[in-house]
């Protein structure tokens, strides 16, 4: 696997091509090879624009390699080159790989802001390179099994990267999800809760947004609005810039979170406060507003609570923040106990979402998902998973097509596909009103009607009838 990030606005003079490269993995590849990957990518980006000026190059499929493209920011491209002979022999899901690129970029922006802004801050490119290298290396380490990178493959076709997995017990709470939540959720699953939950396991979160005026998104499990937002002090921006410059932070570094003295999770990734022993609270950027927020995490048993506090609202940095944390605990700890108790009672553990006889993935509006537990998916035959993986590619294409042809009207694709694969398994895809359902039924009977009936039952019971015919 190779992964590179390059900026088309840089290195346009002959002899300065190296300047384009912002990141390359593996870093020890000769420059000539790196440049050849980027040369091909750049060439095809230019070439495809002749015919498709609006939609950028997405993938180059060669016999032995796939190049997956993602234009992370305008003119800044991420390209992943997958060796098909080494990595899973069967076709990888290009869309799943693109989501990996998208995820690593979102996380980077969460902690460091956009790449472009960093490039503008320091035009030589040294700053961004020094940030990207450890960040992405840390990120990729999650895909390492032994010494091999295990990228998303057809085995993962009953999962959806980049979605928040909902707890059913959370239904009663108002749910509003946006990109930042997904990034935070990803981060929480990746790093904050490495032990409490296995990777990919379920968590529950919801975003509470107060009135637009106060612009305080608070991500917490505390439904009562009295706690956090009341304690916001609007004040000048207490910038921590000077501090940030001295050392590159590695927010994705493993095992660097622990419980601090105040009960909140703390990490030494961001260093410690001048002289004192307390660690610096990390600051994250919101995607849309690029507003800077303190990231405070609190854990009670398997419950993780994340608070985002606008940097601009805290008067005197860490001191002010610890006051906020203290108040949160004073006002809300009892509620947290109760919620945790409620959740752990209501949550059926790993297999909570298992529906007997079904292997499924349900995606709502590309943001929220629910799926059969991975252990259950593993019982499926390889052929079934390959067939579903292929079917998902087809559906993605149809979805893309619907988007392209109806750009003005957001028309959701209505689609129903039931395939009886060679091994006799039914592989099913349904899309309706922004919801998608994918299913493998290995033990269904031979008839299409039976399979359709099973979907209908599932739809009525678990999807409030969205996929039912009438």
């Amino acid at each position: 696997m190779q992964l590179c990030i390059f900026d088309l606005r840089r290195g346009q003079q002959e002899g300065q091509e190296l300047d384009k490269i912002l990141f390359f993995f593996p870093a020890d590849l000769p420059f000539a090879t790196q440049l050849s990957v980027i040369g091909l990518s750049e060439g095809l980006i230019t070439f495809t624009r002749i015919f498709s000026p609006d939609a950028a190059c997405e993938v180059i499929e060669a016999e032995r390699h796939s190049h997956v493209f993602y234009e992370a920011e305008s003119d800044i491209w991420m390209v992943m080159v997958v060796d098909k002979s080494k990595e899973s022999k069967a076709a990888c899901q290009v869309d799943a790989l693109r989501k990996v690129l998208k995820e690593v970029h979102s996380l980077f922006v969460l902690f460091h802001g956009t790449m472009r802004s960093m490039l503008e801050k320091e035009t030589s490119g040294g700053l961004i390179r020094s940030h990207l290298y450890p960040f992405i290396t840390d990120y990729l380490s999650d895909f390492l099994t032994g010494r091999k990178l295990q990228l998303p493959s057809f085995h993962d076709c009953l999962m959806e990267r980049g979605t928040v997995q909902m707890l059913t017990v959370g239904r009663e709470a108002a749910i509003e999800v946006q990109d930042d939540t997904i990034s935070l959720f990803t981060y929480a699953v990746l790093r904050l809760t490495p032990h409490a939950l296995s990777s990919g396991a379920t968590s529950w979160s919801y975003l509470q947004r107060t009135n637009a005026g106060s612009q305080v998104p608070a991500l917490s499990t505390i439904t009562n609005s009295g706690s956090v937002s009341d304690n916001i002090y609007r004040s000048r921006d207490a910038s921590l810039d000077q501090e940030n410059n001295c050392q590159v932070k590695r927010p994705l570094h493993h095992n660097r979170w622990f419980r601090g003295n105040d009960g909140f999770l703390a990490s030494d990734i961001w260093g410690t406060d001048n002289g004192s022993q307390t660690s610096v609270t990390p600051i994250v950027y919101l995607q849309l507003t690029e507003e800077r927020m303190y990231l405070c995490a609190y854990q009670h048993k398997s419950l993780t609570i994340i608070l985002l506090v606008p940097v601009s609202s805290i008067l005197n940095g860490e001191q002010g923040l610890s006051l906020v944390k203290q108040q949160v605990l004073e006002n809300a700890s009892l509620k947290m106990l109760m919620v945790e108790e409620k959740l752990s009672k209501g949550w059926g553990g790993e297999n909570a979402y298992h529906v007997s006889g079904y292997r499924y993935l349900l995606v709502d509006d590309e943001r929220v998902s629910r799926a059969s537990p991975p252990a259950k998916v593993m019982t499926l035959a390889k052929e079934s998973l390959l067939a579903l993986s292929k079917l998902r590619e087809e559906v993605n294409l149809e979805k893309k097509r619907a988007k392209c042809s109806n750009s003005e009207v957001n028309c959701d694709k209505e689609l129903e596909i039931c395939v009886r694969a060679k091994n006799g398994a039914w592989v099913i895809a349904r899309t309706s009103r922004g919801k998608e359902l994918y299913m493998v039924l290995e033990k269904a009977s031979e008839t299409l009607l039976y399979a359709a009936d099973s979907v209908e039952k599932f739809s009525n019971r678990y999807c409030s009838g969205v996929f039912s015919l009438d």
């Binding site: 002959e14 091509e17 000539a32 440049l35 050849s36 980027i38 040369g39 091909l40 750049e42 060439g43 095809l44 230019t46 070439f47 495809t48 624009r49 002749i50 015919f51 498709s52 609006d54 939609a55 950028a56 190059c57 997405e58 993938v59 180059i60 499929e61 060669a62 016999e63 032995r64 390699h65 069967a90 076709a91 052929e383 390959l386 067939a387 292929k390 079917l391 087809e394 294409l397 149809e398 893309k400 097509r401 392209c404 042809s405 750009s407 694709k413 209505e414 689609l415 129903e416 596909i417 039931c418 395939v419 009886r420 694969a421 060679k422 006799g424 299409l448 009607l449 359709a452």
Partner: protein, 635 residues
């Protein structure tokens, strides 16, 4: 390949400097040492060779610059000359004294020899020249007002729905379009489906739209992409951007590229490129590779001169002829005895040294090819793709179509033997029905002529030709005729015969305008018999009555076919697919494949029942709709 006016060779000396792809070229070069792009700018060497080719052309072509020779009396002499040219191709390449190119041009010039024994010789108006020089311009202008094929990508264009004239397919005129365009034109960039053939040195050979000579720079870019990936020890298959796909196919020294935003799957597009390549092999044989071995900068365009029309007709057929993706051929529905009679006389002829004998007819809609009967000499079998390419070659070339004329032309069947020429004797009995006799012997013209006379006599005597005419008028299976009660059909020997003769013309006119659709919302079906390599397609019925709707259905079938035959995991057994346009049902078994289209609101259970009935119906009438037993595949 629009016009190979000899003087235009200098036009491509320097690629148009304002072409967009140029910077791209340099990008490739800047980051990696690329092969030199001599292919773009022709070197002096190449133009010298070209001149020699031209001279050679004139020298050997009996004065015909086009390389098409129409002969009356001296035809025999010429064709035996040709045999030499093919048999000892290499030797000839050498002794021509003008390099590999010259020799082959000579060969090609002669390979286009046509014997029009009965027709008056009119060198300027017949042969490929018609498709290329003179009528090239006129067909381009005609095309502008009529054909849908000139699709420029417009939002919603494809899904326009009910608008559009009924059956504009018949109005499609083959030939090169938009020769005035090149890659700098916006209209050219917006064409929905481009096809390119180029050599591995980047020389353009064919482009569906635009003038090849003006596309030299673009062609070099395609070559650069392919060789860049090749230099990395890999082979590029496709590139995707938005709804666009760029599909590559490398065949030795020949590169084929399709750029499309038609949403056809990659597998379909690459299969189409294979057919385009096959069509080229059919015209030239694979021995053209040797020319490239000798001279990598070899210019092939003169060899293919005038065959634009063949390629454009083939590409057009990718949008409506199911044979192109099913890899099967269709038969004209005929009473069993009639087909038997035709088969018997063809078999008779095959035993006398004819390799393949095919009696074909043109369907009333467009130029669809239907087989009346076909016979192969012992152990020889004809691949459906070869039949498609052969039929396309013959039907798209104006010169073959002169009724009662006979033509004798070298052709190669790429699936049968890509290295060698066969010789095709073609004769039209009437406007729609024609006979192809294939032989390995180049001097067999008079023998084949005799065979044809024998065949014709028998066909007339046994009323085969009139039955054929009646069947073309009647059309094939209609979904309306699928009765809900299956009993009515079992036992019925021939639907065609069920209908009173006198009513036929009215019936046709009526039903082709307002078919009502079949039971349970059945709109259309395709049935492919796996063992026979044959398929049958129902007549289009309401509401699939405009060309646009037919094309959309065709594309939906094509997608379904690819989905069912997914590489590595296929074939699947069944598929049910409902979207806003149709309910599609597909059923693949070791014996047959059924593709059926229903109203999108059709009931699942009823649709399944109806599919079963269709299969039963097809089995009941298979004697009439398929060519059984007598097929060469039974050996």
């Amino acid at each position: 390949m629009s016009s190979s006016d000899s003087s235009s060779s200098s036009a491509s000396d320097d690629p148009n400097p304002k072409l967009k792809p140029q910077p791209l070229e340099s990008q490739f070069q800047s980051s990696l040492t690329l092969e030199d792009s001599d292919g773009v700018a022709r070197t002096d060497d190449a133009s010298v060779a070209e001149q020699q080719q031209e001279q050679q052309d004139e020298g050997s072509g009996n004065g015909s610059v086009d390389g098409v020779v129409n002969v009356e009396d001296n035809g025999h002499r010429d064709s035996s000359d040709r045999e030499e040219g093919i048999g000892s191709g290499e030797a000839r390449d050498g002794d021509g004294g003008s390099g590999g190119g010259g020799g082959v041009v000579w060969r090609r010039a002669n390979s286009e020899v046509e014997l029009e024994v009965e027709a008056p010789a009119s060198p300027s108006s017949s042969g490929y020249a018609g498709g290329r020089g003179s009528s090239g311009a006129s067909s381009a202008s005609r095309a502008d007002d009529a054909s849908e094929e000139d699709e420029i990508e417009v939002v919603g264009n494809d899904d326009g729905g009910a608008v559009g004239a009924p059956d504009s397919q018949a109005e499609w005129t083959p030939g090169k379009r938009h020769v005035d365009e090149d890659d700098a034109s916006i209209s050219w960039r917006k064409r929905k489906k481009h096809f390119f053939i180029l050599s591995n040195s980047g020389k353009p050979i064919y482009s569906r739209y635009g003038d090849e000579h003006k596309l030299a720079g673009f062609s070099a870019t395609l070559q650069a992409i392919i060789s860049f990936v090749e230099n990395g020890g890999d082979r590029v298959k496709y590139v995707k951007a938005g709804m666009h796909q760029v599909v590559f196919l490398v065949k030795g020294p020949i590169y084929l590229v399709c750029i499309s935003c038609t949403e056809e799957p990659f597998e379909s597009l690459v299969a189409q490129l294979e057919l385009v390549y096959g069509q080229m092999i059919l015209i030239l044989t694979k021995s053209l590779n040797r020319c490239f071995e000798k001279n990598p900068k070899f210019d092939m365009t003169p060899l293919l001169g005038g065959t634009d029309v063949v390629f454009s007709a083939l590409i057009h057929s990718f949008s409506w002829n199911p044979a192109a993706f099913l890899h099967a051929y269709a038969c004209l529905p005929l009473p069993y005895a009639t087909r038997q009679a035709a088969g018997a006389i063809l078999q008779d002829v095959a035993d006398s040294g004819v390799l393949f004998a095919l009696l074909m007819c043109k369907h009333r809609v467009g130029t669809s090819l239907k087989v009346i009967s076909l016979v192969g000499a012992q152990k020889a079998s004809l691949h459906p793709d070869d039949m498609l390419l052969l039929g396309n070659f013959i039907m798209s070339s104006e010169s073959f179509r002169q009724v009662t004329s006979e033509s004798f032309s070298p052709i190669c069947l790429p699936r049968y033997n890509p290295m060698a020429f066969l010789h095709a004797y073609v004769h039209y009995f009437d406007a729609d029905t024609y006979l192809i006799l294939l032989t390995t012997r180049s001097d067999a013209f008079y023998h084949l002529k005799d065979c044809r006379i024998r065949i014709e006599t028998v066909l007339l005597k046994s009323n085969v030709l009139s039955e054929v005419q009646r069947s073309t008028l009647d059309g094939g299976m209609r979904v309306e005729d699928l009765s809900v009660d299956l009993q009515q059909h079992t036992g019925s020997t021939s639907r065609v015969e069920d209908k009173p003769h006198t009513e036929t013309p009215e019936r046709i006119r009526e039903s082709s305008l307002v078919g009502l659709g079949g039971p349970a919302g059945l709109w259309h079906f395709l049935y492919r018999s796996v063992y026979l390599d044959q398929y049958v397609s129902s007549e289009f019925s309401s509401p699939i009555n405009t060309h646009r709707q037919q094309k959309r259905l065709y594309r939906a079938y094509q997608k379904l076919y690819v989905s069912m035959h997914s590489k590595g995991i296929g074939p699947h057994k069944t598929q049910f697919r409902r979207d806003e346009n149709y309910v599609l049902l597909c059923w693949v078994t070791p014996d047959f494949e059924l593709y059926a289209a229903f109203d999108p609101l059709a009931d699942k259970a009823l649709a399944i029942k109806t599919c079963n009935k269709v299969c039963q119906w097809v089995k009941d009438v298979e004697n009439e709709i398929f060519l059984l037993g007598a097929s060469p595949f039974s050996w």
